[in-house]
C-alpha cells in the first residue's frame, strides 16, 4: 500500500512557504528556467546536484551541505513520487499529501468530508467540519494535472454538499483537462432538486458520470444501510433528474450481508425503473472506516453470495445494461462472471494475499483492498493455467 499522506515533513531551509501550497514536482534538472519557478524539485540522493531556480526542493536524505531556502525532508515512503505528480504541503503542520500521480489510473480528489448519509460501511467516515479550503486547493491543482490523464474521481464525503462550487470544479476539469473522464461519487440526494441537476448538466462536460449507490429495491432497507430516512426517495429522484438533464449515471451497489439477499430483486427493480442508467457496478466491501465497527452486521464471505450475484448480472446484462463486478477476486467468481470483473481497486491500495502466490491469473484479477487483511474470503484457490 502506498502512503499518500505523511505528517513527518521536516523543513530544512531557512524559509518556509506559508500555509498550504500545491506544487507539481519535477525530476528534470535541465527543466527550462521559466518553468521551474512554480515547481518543487525532487532530490533523490545526497550526492545529486541541486539545480537552481525551483520554487522548492524535496529531499529524501538529509543533505550534508547547505540547502536552498525552501527545502523539505520527506519520509522514504514517499519515494514513489515522480515527475509530474502533485503534492500539497502544509508547513506549519509538517504534512504532505500526494494529490495526483501522473502515471496512475486511479487519481481521486477529496472535495469535502461532510456528508448527509452515514452509511454503515462508509470507507471515509464523514466529519462535520468546514473544509472549504479543499476546493480552493483543488482549483489550484487541476491546471497542474497532465492533459493525458485518463480519468479522475471526485469523492467525499458528499461532493454535492459543495453546491454550486461542484459545478465550478467540474467546469475547471472541462476547461483544463478536456480529454479526462470525470467520475463523481455522490449519493445523488441533492439532485432531487432539478435546478441543481441542471446546473451540473449545464457545465456540458464531455465525459462526466455520476456514480450513485443504491442498496435495495425497498426504501426502508436502503435508508437503513445509509442511515438516513428518506434517502431512497431522494436518490431515485436525483438519478431521474440527472438523466433528464443528460448527465450520465452509474448505479453502485456495495455487496454485503445486508444487501446480497435482495440483489436479484434490486437488479429487476433497476431493469424496470432505471434501465436508462449508463452503468451498474456491483462492488465488494472495503474493510475500512465504519465497516470495521459494523463488521458483524456486514460480513458475508463473497463465496456465499455468488448465486445472487450471478442472477443479478444475468438480469442486468440481459437487459443490455452495462454491468461490472468490482473489487472481487477471480477465483471466487463463477467462470461466467469473469468477463464482468474489473481491476477496480485503486493501485495504491490493491494487494494480493500469501495464498495468491503462484497464481497465473493475477494480472486479470481484481485482487484485494489492503484493508482486507482484517477479514477476507476463505475460498482463495490460485489458478495454475500452464
Amino acid at each position: 500500500m502506498l502512503k499518500l499522506f505523511s505528517n513527518r515533513v521536516v523543513s530544512l531551509g531557512s524559509m518556509r512557504e506559508n500555509g498550504t501550497v500545491v506544487r507539481r514536482v519535477s525530476e528534470n534538472p535541465d527543466y527550462a528556467q521559466i518553468c521551474r519557478e512554480q515547481e518543487y524539485f525532487l532530490v533523490r540522493d545526497r550526492l545529486s546536484e541541486v539545480p537552481e531556480g525551483f520554487a522548492g526542493y524535496l529531499f529524501f536524505e538529509k543533505p550534508s551541505r547547505d540547502v536552498p531556502l525552501v527545502s523539505y525532508l520527506l519520509e522514504p515512503t514517499l519515494s514513489y513520487l515522480r515527475n509530474g505528480d502533485i503534492v500539497k504541503i502544509n508547513t506549519s503542520h509538517g504534512t504532505l499529501r500526494t494529490v495526483y500521480r501522473r502515471n496512475s489510473r486511479h487519481n481521486s480528489v477529496l472535495v469535502t468530508e461532510r456528508c448527509n448519509n452515514y452509511c454503515l460501511m462508509c470507507s471515509q467516515p464523514p466529519r462535520e467540519i468546514n473544509d472549504d479550503h479543499l476546493v480552493d486547493e483543488l482549483l489550484q491543482t487541476i491546471p497542474l494535472m497532465s492533459r493525458e490523464t485518463l480519468s479522475v474521481v471526485i469523492t467525499g464525503g458528499e461532493p454535492t454538499l459543495l453546491g454550486e462550487r461542484l459545478a465550478q470544479v467540474i467546469n475547471a476539469f472541462r476547461c483544463y483537462l478536456p480529454y479526462t473522464a470525470v467520475h463523481v461519487l455522490s449519493n445523488g440526494r441533492s439532485f432531487r432538486d432539478l435546478d441543481y441537476a441542471k446546473a451540473i448538466g449545464q457545465v456540458q462536460h464531455p465525459d462526466l458520470m455520476i456514480g450513485i449507490p443504491l442498496y435495495s429495491d425497498i426504501s426502508s432497507k436502503h435508508d437503513y444501510v445509509v442511515q438516513a430516512d428518506g434517502a431512497f426517495d431522494d436518490t431515485i429522484r436525483g438519478i431521474i433528474n440527472l438523466k433528464t438533464v443528460g448527465v450520465r449515471v452509474e448505479i453502485r451497489v456495495v455487496l454485503h450481508n445486508l444487501t446480497y439477499d435482495r440483489l436479484p430483486e434490486l437488479a429487476r427493480f433497476i431493469r424496470r425503473n432505471l434501465t436508462f442508467c449508463d452503468h451498474v457496478a456491483l462492488m465488494g466491501l472495503e474493510m475500512t472506516g465504519f465497516t470495521r465497527s459494523n463488521l458483524n452486521k456486514l460480513w458475508i464471505d463473497p463465496k456465499d453470495y455468488q448465486a445472487q450475484l450471478r442472477d443479478a448480472v444475468a438480469i442486468l446484462d440481459g437487459a443490455k445494461m452495462d454491468v461490472s463486478i468490482y473489487n472481487h477476486q477471480l477465483c471466487i467468481l463463477e467462470e461466467s462472471l469473469h468477463r464482468f470483473s474489473r481491476k477496480s481497486i485503486s493501485d495504491w491500495k490493491n494487494e494480493f494475499m500469501a495464498e495468491c502466490n503462484g497464481c497465473t491469473r493475477k494480472r486479470e484479477c481484481g485482487g484485494f483492498f489492503s484493508s482486507a487483511t482484517l477479514r477476507y474470503t476463505t475460498h482463495i484457490t490460485p489458478f495454475h493455467d500452464d
Binding site: 435508508d223 442511515q227 427493480f269 425503473n273 437487459a319
Partner: protein
C-alpha cells in the same frame, strides 16, 4: 457505548399503513392469481394472500409485501416515489404512440408465380397494367410516407411477388434515399419475397442499398411445397437456395424467414422448428393462420381453432426450450414479444399487441392500385370485396383526408383495450392489445365479444403459459430472460 447507528426498524414508518396502486388481477390456474399493474409488472398470489393484500392486512416485513411495494402495487408512508416511477414507466410504454407510423408497406404488384392456399391476394396474371403499382403512385406514396413524424421509417415491399416489379422497387429505394438526405430519418428497406426471381443484379442492389430480405419458409420440403404450390413444385428448393445466396451477398442478419401455420402444420411443430434450426436461423415465429381472404373462403380457417393452435404453440415452445437446455440457442419470436412486454419497461413494435391498435399509426399499406389501408389484413379484406378499411386513394385524397378518415378513426377509437368490455378488467391487458381487423373479420365488429374471440383465447393461453414457466421453472426462466433482447 451506545451505537451511533440505528437499527433497521428505526427506518420503518411508525404508523404503518398502505394504499393500493392501480392493478388488475385474474385467475392464473387452479389456486393462483396473477396481479399485473398498469405497466406490466406482475406478482403471483394465492387467494388468501390476495385478500390480505387488498384488505390492507399484509405484514410490512413479509417478502410478498416487499415484492408488491418494489413493483408498485402499493405505496406506504415510508416512500412516495412510486407515482414518479409509474409515471415514467407509463410514458416509456406509450412512447411509440407519439412516434407514429413507422412501417410503410408498398404493394408493388399483385402478380405472383405461387398459388398458396392461404394467400388472400395474389394473381396469376401477365397483365402488368392491371396489377402493378405505377411510378406516379409510388411518388404519392413516398410523399405520404415522409409525412409521418416517425424518426424511423421502414419501407417494406409486398406483393404478390414484389420482385416481379423490381424496377419499381429500385425507383422507390433511390427516391426514398434522395428525400432522406434532407429528412434524415433512420430509413430501412425490406423485400418480402419468395426468392424465385432472385438475380445477382437484385442482390447487388440490395447490398449497395442495405435492403433486407424476408422470405417464407413453412417447414420441411413436403410441407412447404404442399402449402406453397408453384409450377415445378420446387418452392422449397428455390427458397433454400435463395436464402443461401442472399446470406452470402447480404450477411446472415439481413435475411429472415416467416412461417405460416396451416392445418397440415399442426402436428409437425418439431419438424418445422428443426427445419429453421437446420437452416441456421436464430429463431422462429410460430404464427397462427389469419382469418382472412382465401383462408376463410376456402374454409381453411375452420380447419382448426384456437385450442389446436395453442397446443401447437405450447409443444413448439417446450421443444425450443428443450433445444436451449441442450445448448442450442434459439428463440420463439411471439414469446420474445410477450416477454418484452412482461419484463421490460418498453412497448414492443409488434402491431397486433398494441392498445390502441397499430392500424395506420404503427403500420400502413399502399396497395398496387393506389388505395391506402391501415394494415395488411385490411387490404386483404378489400381484395375479398369488403373495402370497409379503405382510407382513400393516393391519387385523389390528401394525407389529412386519409389519416382522418372514418375508415381509420372508427376502428382506432374502438381499439383502446382499456375501455373495452372484458379487456378493461383483464390482468393480461398490459401484455395484450387490440385487433380490429380480426374481430371485424370474425364477428363483424371492431371490438367483438371477447368470450367468443379467438384472438383473446389464443393470447390468454400464451400469457398464462409463459407466466407459469417464468414462475415455476427456474431453468426455463433463465432461458426466457435471455430472449428479451434477442
Amino acid at each position: 457505548m451506545a451505537s451511533v447507528f440505528q437499527d433497521e426498524e428505526f427506518y420503518l414508518p411508525a404508523h404503518h399503513t398502505y394504499s393500493l396502486l392501480p392493478f388488475r388481477f385474474s385467475r392464473l390456474d387452479s389456486d393462483r392469481y396473477v396481479a399485473v399493474n398498469e405497466v406490466g409488472e406482475s406478482q403471483l398470489l394465492l387467494r388468501d394472500e390476495l385478500e390480505l393484500f387488498v384488505r390492507k392486512r399484509l405484514s410490512q416485513s413479509s417478502r410478498l409485501y416487499y415484492a408488491l411495494k418494489a413493483r408498485h402495487f402499493l405505496e406506504d408512508n415510508d416512500s412516495d416515489i412510486a407515482a414518479d416511477l409509474l409515471t415514467l414507466k407509463v410514458r416509456s410504454k406509450r412512447e411509440r404512440i407519439a412516434r407514429f407510423t413507422s412501417l410503410h408497406m408498398f404493394v408493388v404488384t399483385l402478380r405472383c408465380n405461387h398459388s398458396c392456399q392461404y394467400c388472400q391476394v395474389s394473381r396469376q396474371s401477365e397483365d402488368r397494367s392491371a396489377y402493378d403499382m405505377t411510378e406516379a403512385m409510388a411518388d404519392r406514396a413516398l410523399d405520404f410516407t415522409f409525412r409521418s413524424p416517425s424518426p424511423a421509417i421502414k419501407i417494406e415491399f409486398q406483393g404478390g411477388e414484389p420482385l416481379l416489379n423490381f424496377d419499381l422497387i429500385k425507383y422507390i429505394v433511390l427516391n426514398a434515399k434522395r428525400r432522406n438526405v434532407v429528412e434524415k430519418r433512420d430509413l430501412a428497406f425490406v423485400i418480402a419475397t419468395n426468392l424465385s426471381f432472385l438475380t445477382d443484379e437484385i442482390l447487388g442492389f440490395c447490398r449497395d442499398h442495405a435492403v433486407q430480405i424476408s422470405t417464407s419458409l413453412d417447414g420441411p420440403a413436403d410441407l412447404h411445397n404442399a402449402n406453397r404450390p408453384k409450377p415445378g413444385n420446387d418452392s422449397y428448393e428455390v427458397t433454400i437456395d435463395g436464402i443461401r445466396r442472399a446470406r452470402e451477398a447480404l450477411g446472415v442478419d439481413q435475411v429472415s424467414a416467416l412461417m405460416t401455420t396451416t392445418k397440415a402444420s399442426l402436428a409437425r411443430v418439431t419438424e418445422i422448428i428443426d427445419e429453421y434450426v437446420k437452416q441456421g436461423f436464430r429463431g422462429i415465429f410460430l404464427r397462427n393462420l389469419s382469418p382472412y381472404g382465401f383462408a376463410i373462403k376456402t374454409r381453411y380457417f375452420d380447419g382448426y381453432d384456437s385450442d389446436s393452435w395453442l397446443n401447437f404453440y405450447r409443444c413448439g415452445l417446450d421443444y425450443i426450450l428443450q433445444l436451449n437446455k441442450q445448448g442450442c440457442s434459439f428463440a420463439e419470436f411471439f414469446t420474445t414479444t410477450v416477454l418484452q412486454k412482461m419484463l421490460t419497461p418498453y412497448e414492443t413494435g409488434f402491431v397486433n399487441l398494441r392498445s390502441p391498435a397499430g392500424i395506420g399509426i404503427a403500420g400502413i399499406i399502399f396497395s398496387y392500385n393506389g388505395e391506402v389501408y391501415p394494415s395488411d389484413e385490411a387490404r386483404m379484406k378489400a381484395e375479398m370485396g369488403d373495402k370497409i378499411f379503405c382510407m382513400g386513394n393516393l391519387m385523389t385524397d390528401t394525407y389529412e383526408q386519409m389519416m382522418l378518415s372514418p375508415a381509420l378513426l372508427t376502428p382506432l377509437e374502438d381499439s383502446f383495450a382499456e375501455s373495452v368490455p372484458m379487456c378493461e378488467e383483464c390482468a393480461f391487458l398490459p401484455y395484450c392489445g387490440s385487433d380490429p381487423d380480426y374481430h371485424y373479420a370474425t364477428q363483424r365488429d371492431f371490438v367483438g365479444h371477447k368470450a367468443l374471440s379467438g384472438f383473446c383465447k389464443k393470447n390468454m393461453g400464451v400469457f398464462r403459459y409463459i407466466i407459469q414457466k417464468l414462475e415455476d421453472k427456474p431453468e426455463e426462466r433463465q432461458i426466457l430472460e435471455s430472449w428479451v433482447n434477442w
